[in-house]
């Protein structure tokens, strides 16, 4: 079965600093999703990557899927308190086309210090 490993598991950065979160898969990724979870709440969709080498940006967050489609990174530029939360990557193993049977990483807890 597919497994996702996120690193680091937790991250504390000073406001204004850049940071990167990584997500490594044990198998080829057919679809990679990044979500953000605020403590005790549901997940909010950030970005979806499907093609090797693909890169997407939204505001100060950039996500990339490497060429071999087994690793993704999430980069935040000039971090703000609003970026604090838990970041989760989810992968579609492609077993059932389009059904998105997602496997999730364990999450990265991001804390932003003023």
């Amino acid at each position: 079965s597919q497994e996702l490993e996120q690193s680091p598991q937790s991250l504390i950065v000073q406001e204004g600093k850049n940071l990167t979160i990584n997500c490594t898969s044990s198998k080829t990724l057919y679809g990679l999703y990044w979500y953000k979870q605020k403590y005790g709440e549901g997940l909010i969709f950030l970005m979806m990557l499907q093609k090797g080498g693909e890169e997407k940006s939204h505001e100060k967050i950039t996500a990339k899927l490497d060429e071999k489609k087994q690793q993704s990174s999430l980069h935040i530029t000039a971090s703000q308190p609003s970026h604090a939360g838990i970041y989760l990557c989810g992968a579609d193993g492609g077993e059932v086309q389009g059904a998105q049977k997602l496997v999730f990483g364990q999450g990265t807890r991001l804390t932003i210090n003023p």
Partner: protein
Amino acid sequence: NAGVTQTPKFRILKIGQSMTLQCAQDMNHNYMYWYRQDPGMGLKLIYYSVGAGITDKGEVPNGYNVSRSTTEDFPLRLELAAPSQTSVYFCASARLWNEQFFGPGTRLTVL
């Protein structure tokens, strides 16, 4: 649009009791999902549905049952609650090839 709604928000059960977690979506999505999230962990898929009348097991289906009689509703049934089922449960829905929208979650404690 209310999106994905879940009830109840919190529940405490005694061992052996049964309950149904409700999930509804008003976005006309064909795909619906149930996940559980244990403390400090990612989400694990319990069951999913690709449309009304069609359900299938996910990664951790033991101890749970689902039904999908309408496009909008996807209830999750716990028949004999066990302490190992203490978790936060999330329901999600999606269109084909698109991102999943998540509900706010139900926090369940089994004592």
